[in-house]
């Protein structure tokens, strides 16, 4: 056995003991209880207010009241859908093929915006038959005053007396 080993070990043990004693004998700063109580009170009130705002809104105790609230919400939703639909269909302008209606301007457009002119309605060309008479039996008859191109054979119109 090494005689020098034991005193050295004892020395280390003493140092370890002293270090541990110092570590285990610390005292908290004065008023730690006050600070802990303040924190607990703060957290408790926070939890309470969180519960109040978070759950009370949905906490309707009776089923009739819940049913009434649900019905009111559903009615409001239906009303909003119908009103939106009507409003939307009123905004749609009727479109007729071949006729483009003048687009109303709000006057807020920029100067560079396109402003298409209204398309004029062209009159029918002169000399064309404006009407076609029909016999009682359903045959179409071209009037005798109709101007026809040369060389085109036109069947003779039967007289009315027949």
């Amino acid at each position: 056995m090494n005689p020098r080993l034991e005193p050295t070990n004892q020395n280390y043990d003493q140092r370890i003991d002293q270090a541990l004693r110092r570590l285990g004998s610390v005292e908290p700063a004065a008023g730690i209880e006050d600070r802990i109580s303040a924190r607990l009170a703060q957290e408790h009130s926070k939890a309470r207010s969180g519960k109040a705002t978070g759950t009370r809104f949905f906490a309707v105790p009776h089923y009739p009241a819940r049913f009434a609230l649900t019905a009111i919400a559903a009615g409001l939703a239906c009303f909003a859908i119908v009103a939106g639909s009507v409003n939307h269909s009123r905004r749609i302008q009727p479109t007729v093929p071949g006729i483009s209606l003048h687009q109303t301007s709000s006057g807020m457009g920029t100067a560079g915006a396109a402003h298409p002119a209204n398309q004029p309605v062209t009159p029918p060309p002169s000399g064309r038959p404006r009407s076609v008479r029909q016999l009682p039996e359903g045959r179409a008859v071209i009037s005798p005053e109709t101007q026809k191109a040369n060389g085109v054979a036109v069947p003779k119109t039967p007289s009315r007396a027949q």
């Binding site: 280390y12 270090a19 610390v26 908290p28 008023g31 607990l40 957290e43």
Partner: protein, 199 residues
């Protein structure tokens, strides 16, 4: 003079107005119990937290967090057999969690802070034996020990704790705690010798 008892006794009272009588009685009981626990054990819990955190502010924060957990589970207070060990165990878990989260951060041993919180009489005695630097060096070597040995050794530093209570906190047997502390001290001596810290 501290206003602590007056402050704490009524801190749960406003919650009771709309509650049923039984519930309010229970809440009042738990409020009073927590008040008593804070008064009785906050210093011990602080020492437990400080042994790991080595920083006054962080140790106090850990104690506050531990009591917040107690508040959260206050309905279990009646079922707890040994409130002291239960509180130490909660604090121990809190500080280990904190330490794990702070592992990426550098070690922040607050020597000035430590000197401030150490009782003056003890400081005078210990100063004659080991210097603050030496003390810090030993604490650093303790941190290099395997975690099981380190935990047992650090808890053994808290003088109020018996080996049985340390075993309960660590969830092991008393004999296991004894052998862990023995191994820790032996290993620490070897490290001290290796580091050349001698008188």
């Amino acid at each position: 003079m501290s206003t602590f008892p007056g402050q704490l006794t009524g801190w749960m009272a406003p919650a009771l107005i709309s509650e049923k009588a039984q519930t309010s009685a229970n809440t009042l009981d738990s409020s009073e119990t927590i008040t008593a626990l804070v008064a009785q054990y906050s210093a011990t819990l602080y020492r437990v937290a400080y042994s790991v955190m080595r920083n006054a502010a962080e140790a106090e924060d850990a104690v506050q967090e531990a009591f917040l957990r107690v508040l959260k589970h206050r309905e279990k207070l009646d079922e707890i057999h040994d409130l002291r060990v239960w509180l130490i165990r909660i604090t121990w878990n809190v500080v280990l969690d904190k330490k794990r989260r702070e592992k990426t951060r550098p070690e922040n041993d607050d020597i000035a802070d430590y000197v401030r919180v150490l009782p003056s009489a003890d400081r005078a005695v210990d100063h004659s034996l080991i210097s603050s630097q030496e003390h810090q060096r030993i604490l650093m070597l303790i941190d290099r020990l395997p975690h099981k040995e380190r935990e047992a050794l650090l808890l053994s530093a808290v003088q109020e704790l018996s080996t049985v209570q340390i075993a309960t906190v660590l969830g092991t047997t008393e004999s296991s705690v004894r052998s862990r502390i023995f191994r820790a001290r032996r290993e620490l001596s070897a490290l001290l010798e290796k580091e050349g810290i001698s008188r």
